[in-house]
Structures are given as C-alpha cells and as structure tokens.
Symmetry: C2
Subunit: 386 residues, 2 copies
C-alpha cells in the first residue's frame, strides 16, 4: 500500500485528517518528533509512544553518513533498526546538505558533499535519495530539493526552484520505475521559492501536477523573520491540493504551528522541543520556563500541573532546576520527555479545536501562554536539525 | 517506625531476607542503583521502578554541596524532591570526603573539606551527618566513617578504626537524643579495618555492641586486589549480627556480589552497571559486550535475548553500537536501562538460588558468563561514586 489521506472535518482552512501509512494511522494535524540518528535524543521508542507520538521523523543525510544505509537495510530497515514500529518519515537531506556551505557543490544532476564527520565525499541524486529511502522501508520519503538561503535574490530563488522541479520530476519517475507505479509508503514533493509569492504559488502548482502523495513547504526556518515565514505559509498551503497532506518543514514554535494549522497545514517537525529541553527551556501552559533560573531553586510545583509526563507526574521544578544545572543526564531526559509531551498534547488540543470550531480562540490564547519568560533559543538553526 | 529485617531462609551463610522500611519492603539480597544527585543518570524514577529496583541509593556528600540539604528539606525531603517513592538509603559521605585527598582534613571531631565545585568549606561531624540525613527523611542513614586508603599500615588502619568507632558511638547517641530512641528510618553502622583480619573482626564486634539497625562493610573497592576484598568480606560478614542486614559498600561485579551473598551479605550498591553503560560496556547472560566494537555493527540480535529491558525489547546490538559510537544520549539511556535490569534480574536469580539451594552452581556459572569480552573498566574508582 501507499499512504492514504482523508480530511475528516474542516474549520476555515484548517483540516482534521487521518494519514494512513503501512505502519499505522496518524491523526492530523500532527507533530513529528525529530530522531536525527534514529532516536529522539534521550528517549526510548517506548517513551516516545508514551509521550503520545504517532509518527517519527529521521534524517536520510545523517543515517547515510552513520551508520550507512547498507547497515540499516541489512538490519531489516529503519523500523527494525530503531525499534520504532509506527509511521516513519525521512527527510531527504536537502536542508542538511545546504547547511554544509562550502562542503557541498550543487549541479543539475544532484549534490556532491563532504561528510562533516570524516571528510569523505558523497553524492545525492534525485533518483538516489528515493532509492535510499525505499531501501530503509520508510512510510513517507521526501524528494531531494535545493533549499536556498535567506535572503536570496528572486533570480537565484527561481533558478533553485527550476532545478528542484526538475529533480522532483526525476524522483517521481524513479519512484514509478522502481515500484511499478505503487511501492510501499508515500513520496512527498517539496515547494520552494523563498519569500516570493508568485514563485511559491507557481511552485505549488507545478509540483502538484507531478502527483505526489503529499506536499511539503520547504525553505522556511532558514533565518527569515517570522512575518515572512507566516506569509509564505499563508500563500503556499492553500495553493496545494486539498486532498493531500501538507507538511511544513522544520517549524516551529507553538504559535507558528497554530498559525500554519489555521492555513491548512497537517504535518510538522522541529527540533525546538527536544533541543530547547536540553538547554533547560521548557514549554508550559502558562509560559516558557528557563528552568536554570535561580527562582526555580525552591519551586515545589510540577513544571506544568496539567501535564502527565514522567517529570510532571513525579518531580518538581526544583528537581529539574537542580539536575539541569548540574548537567545530569536525567535532567536532559526528563526535560525532553516534558517538552515532547507538551507539543504532542498541544497538537491534540489543535485537533479538538478544529472539531469544536474554537481554533481562533486557542491561537489567541497562546499569546498568554508565552507571557512568562521569553521563548529562549529560537533562531532558525535551532529549529532545524542540521 | 524504624526498619525491620527478617531472615526468611538460609543456604549455607547466604540469607534470603526482607528489609521493611517506612517506604516499603525490599527483598534481599538487593542491589541499590546509585543516584548520586538524586537520579540514576539518564533514568526517570518510573523507569527505575520498571527496571525492578526496590531501593535507591543517594549521596549525602553530593546533595549537601548541590542543591544543599536545606533545599531538599524545604521541598519535603528526598523522596518528594527526587520523585522516588520507594525505600531510600543515603551514604554519609565518608568515602567521598576521603576521595578529596588534599582538600579534606580529618580530626577527632569530624572532617573539614573544600567543595570540589566552588571551593567553599564544609564540615561533617558524626552528629551532623545523622541530622542531615534525618532532615532528608531517608529510610536508611549511614554513620560518618573514616575510610582509609589501600594499602595502609596496620597502625594507621587501627587508628582510623578507633576514630570511626568513636564517631559511631556519637552518631548512635545523636540518633537516640533526636528521636527519643525511635526515629523514622534506620541508622547503619560501618565496619572498617582495611585488610587486617583481627581488626575487621574486632571492628565488627565493637560496632555491633552499639546496636545499629544494620551494618555495612566499608573500606573496600579502594584499590585492593580482588582476593583481599573477598577475604575481608569472608571474615567480616559472618562476624556481624545474624538478625540485622549486612551491606557491602561500593561492590561490585556480579562475581563479587555472588561471592558476598554466599558469605551472608544482603545489600549492595555500585556505579559499575550505570557508569559502564555510558562507556558502552554491557552485561549479558553470555558475557560482557563492549558495544562500540566493530563486530556489533551489523549484529541484529538484542543485547541479551533473555532480557526484558527497553533496549532488548525493541532494538539490536547494531542500534546500540550506532548510538553509543555517535555519542547519542539515547545510547547512554538504553545502555543504562539494560545494565540496571541485568543487575536487578541477577539479584532475583540469587534470591531464587538461595531458596532452591543452587547458589554454588549459580556462582560457578558466572565464570562462563564473562567468557566473552573482559569486564572492561573495573578499577575501584569506577565502582564507587566519588
């Protein structure tokens, strides 16, 4: 089977949906925790399920470098390798390769880059990255794209889009050839076009004509201001086919996610909850807590009394303060479990709000939630797994 | 209530027992995972329970430095602070203070030392450490002792013992005075005497006369050869009161534990399973695995097919190899959960073997278990939490 997407209810442009994959169904809008090397840092597959995750994201780029796709394939694919038995999506590596700067060289045939680990040379082609993801048996594979930096000229953005579209066509053809038109899992196309409205709308039309199983908005969270990012989402999401899932790559804060859901986005991934957790920046229903702050030294309250994560169920802000300041591993683990639970609970709230027709009120309430501390580390490179 | 110990069955000198504390009962022989700062590194209280732990050990010395006993007390004691709701034992800090070398100065009244964190000066007295542990509400407190190094002269060992005995007398009196003879939790005395048989036997008699709730064998795992350590256990354990629990501090390998159980020891603690896990040294029923070794790169088997830990239930040696080599946090977490489960399962095997009368066979089978790799990091400072 491939993937199947159903829209179960709508509220304005927002959609409540179900993405059915070979490894199970995902209620959308959904957040995909980021497991760069096959695991969310500090979290076992069992704990990820317990936190409420229904789909996990991993990175072709990182897995290709280490342990290598051959190893993953010999071990029975990415599900067997990681122990995560639910739906799995892999990013194609376009963003990571772009982040390498001088270590990579793009041509029309693909991208050649040096491993940031050992300096060895690798090459990704549109056909190759489809094949690598198929060999890992993922539920959703992403096409190879060229992710332009921000800011970028209109000409450069348009040129990058022409190349990405050509790659998308080749990826689609490779998929058909390899799988007799079917194949396990789905393949998603990616829209680029930087912050240029006509380019984004054109890109959405052109990639949709190729007939993918879903469509991603790429090229955001690359340093652009929030207003630009939100404009890109507001232009692009409605221009994508209504019957297919829409995935906003590498975004973002709860506020960004609520905004995108209001414009019809269904899938998200971001390292923000897990990376911020390791730095002691914790999301709660009453604001963001920088847990290392001295005012939490004696605070007996749970991080968030409405949260059911292992940290909130048993311990206090004071204990997290103590462990995170001391650099104790358990501090990173408990903080990560908390932030993931917060994000996954938040997605459930968004889904409920679509059903109830209260999405606007929920989005507006987020302003209150962040009235505590400021959100802390939030530059784009903190959001994407580079 | 204080603590209550019952011997339920014996096999030779080995005992099957039950230690009942204000926070629950512990089946002995038992292993106490080490939670230096209040948590076993990388492990939530819930996961510690799931691994099979019934009692956790923490360190007065470390908690006194950070976050400070005042903080722990204000937050409702060490159980409320850490979220561990089962039995809790704290070490008094004698061993840690001894490890400070030039940073500490012992006199007959107690020990003065510099914090290894900020250089501030602290003083532990026999009465003070009892009071600090009582304020944290622990189930079992340990007396302050002087832990001589190895090797040490007979004269120095005897002098250290005279001082430790005086401190034990003062601790016992402090306990009576503060609690009207009762008190919550129990207080254990500690036998020292280095590797001198007559000193150890004399120390066991003298400390027993003071009437503690249990007795520890201290001053081992300080660099002495295995044969010396085992001789100390074989001399000292049988010389302690049969009706009270016996605790061998900071030991050790499964082989050392089996040996001590055969000589009537009931309680153990050691950082070996957790610290070795973080270095990729993993215990299994067929030998010790150094998981970073290249031969595990493609090994699809669980670490130990007979283990029910989160790593063995879902993942492979190859995945642990990948994560531990990459320094991914999840590698440390899964490895720690595995080694703890191994130790706690092993204690259950020992208890069953006492019941069945098969302890000798079990101890002999351990030689086979370590036929794989050698046990890896196992110097004394790797075993004790300094």
């Amino acid at each position: 089977m491939t993937v199947l997407f159903e829209v179960l209810a709508t509220h304005g442009e927002a959609r409540l949906g179900r993405l059915t994959t070979p490894h199970g169904a995902v209620a959308t809008p959904a957040f995909m925790p980021v497991a760069t090397l096959g695991a969310v840092k500090g979290v076992s597959p069992q704990e990820l399920t317990a936190a409420g995750a229904s789909i996990m994201l991993s990175n072709l780029y990182h897995l290709a470098l280490r342990p290598g796709i051959d190893v993953v394939e010999r071990l029975g694919g990415l599900h067997a390798f990681t122990g995560w038995d639910g739906p799995l999506l892999t990013d194609s590596g376009g963003f990571q390769v772009w982040s390498l700067g001088a270590l990579r060289k793009v041509d029309d045939g693909g991208v050649t880059f040096r491993s940031h680990l050992d300096g060895s040379t690798l090459r990704f082609t549109p056909e190759g990255v489809v094949a690598l993801q198929e060999r890992m048996g993922v539920d959703v594979a992403m096409v190879l794209d060229e992710c332009p930096p921000w800011p970028v000229s209109r000409e450069a953005a348009a040129a990058a889009w022409r190349r990405t579209l050509g790659w998308a066509r080749r990826a689609r053809a490779a998929r058909r050839a390899q799988n007799g038109g079917g194949g396990v899992g789905g393949l998603f196309g990616i829209v680029q076009g930087s912050v240029f409205r006509d380019l984004r709308e054109q890109a959405a039309r052109e990639v949709a004509e190729l007939g993918f199983d879903g469509y991603a908005i790429g090229g955001v969270s690359v340093g652009e201001p929030m207003a630009e990012r939100r404009a890109v989402v507001a232009w692009t999401a409605p221009a994508l086919p209504a019957g297919k899932p829409r995935y906003l790559m590498g975004v973002g804060t709860p506020q960004d996610i609520a905004h995108a859901v209001q414009h019809g986005v269904d899938l998200f991934d971001c390292v923000l909850p897990s990376r911020n957790a390791r730095h002691g920046v914790l999301f709660t229903r009453t604001g963001v807590l920088k847990i290392k702050n001295a005012r939490f030294r004696d605070d007996p309250r749970p991080l968030d009394p409405a949260c059911g994560c292992p940290a909130c169920a048993r311990t206090s802000r004071a204990f997290l303060h103590h462990l995170v300041r001391a650099g104790d591993l358990t501090g990173a683990v408990l903080a990560t479990l908390h932030n993931l639970r917060y994000y996954l609970d938040f997605m459930a709230e968004l889904r409920q709000a679509i059903t109830l027709g209260t999405l606007t009120e929920l989005a507006e309430s987020l302003a209150t939630r962040s009235a505590g501390d400021d959100p802390g580390p939030n530059d784009p490179l903190e959001q994407r797994s580079t």
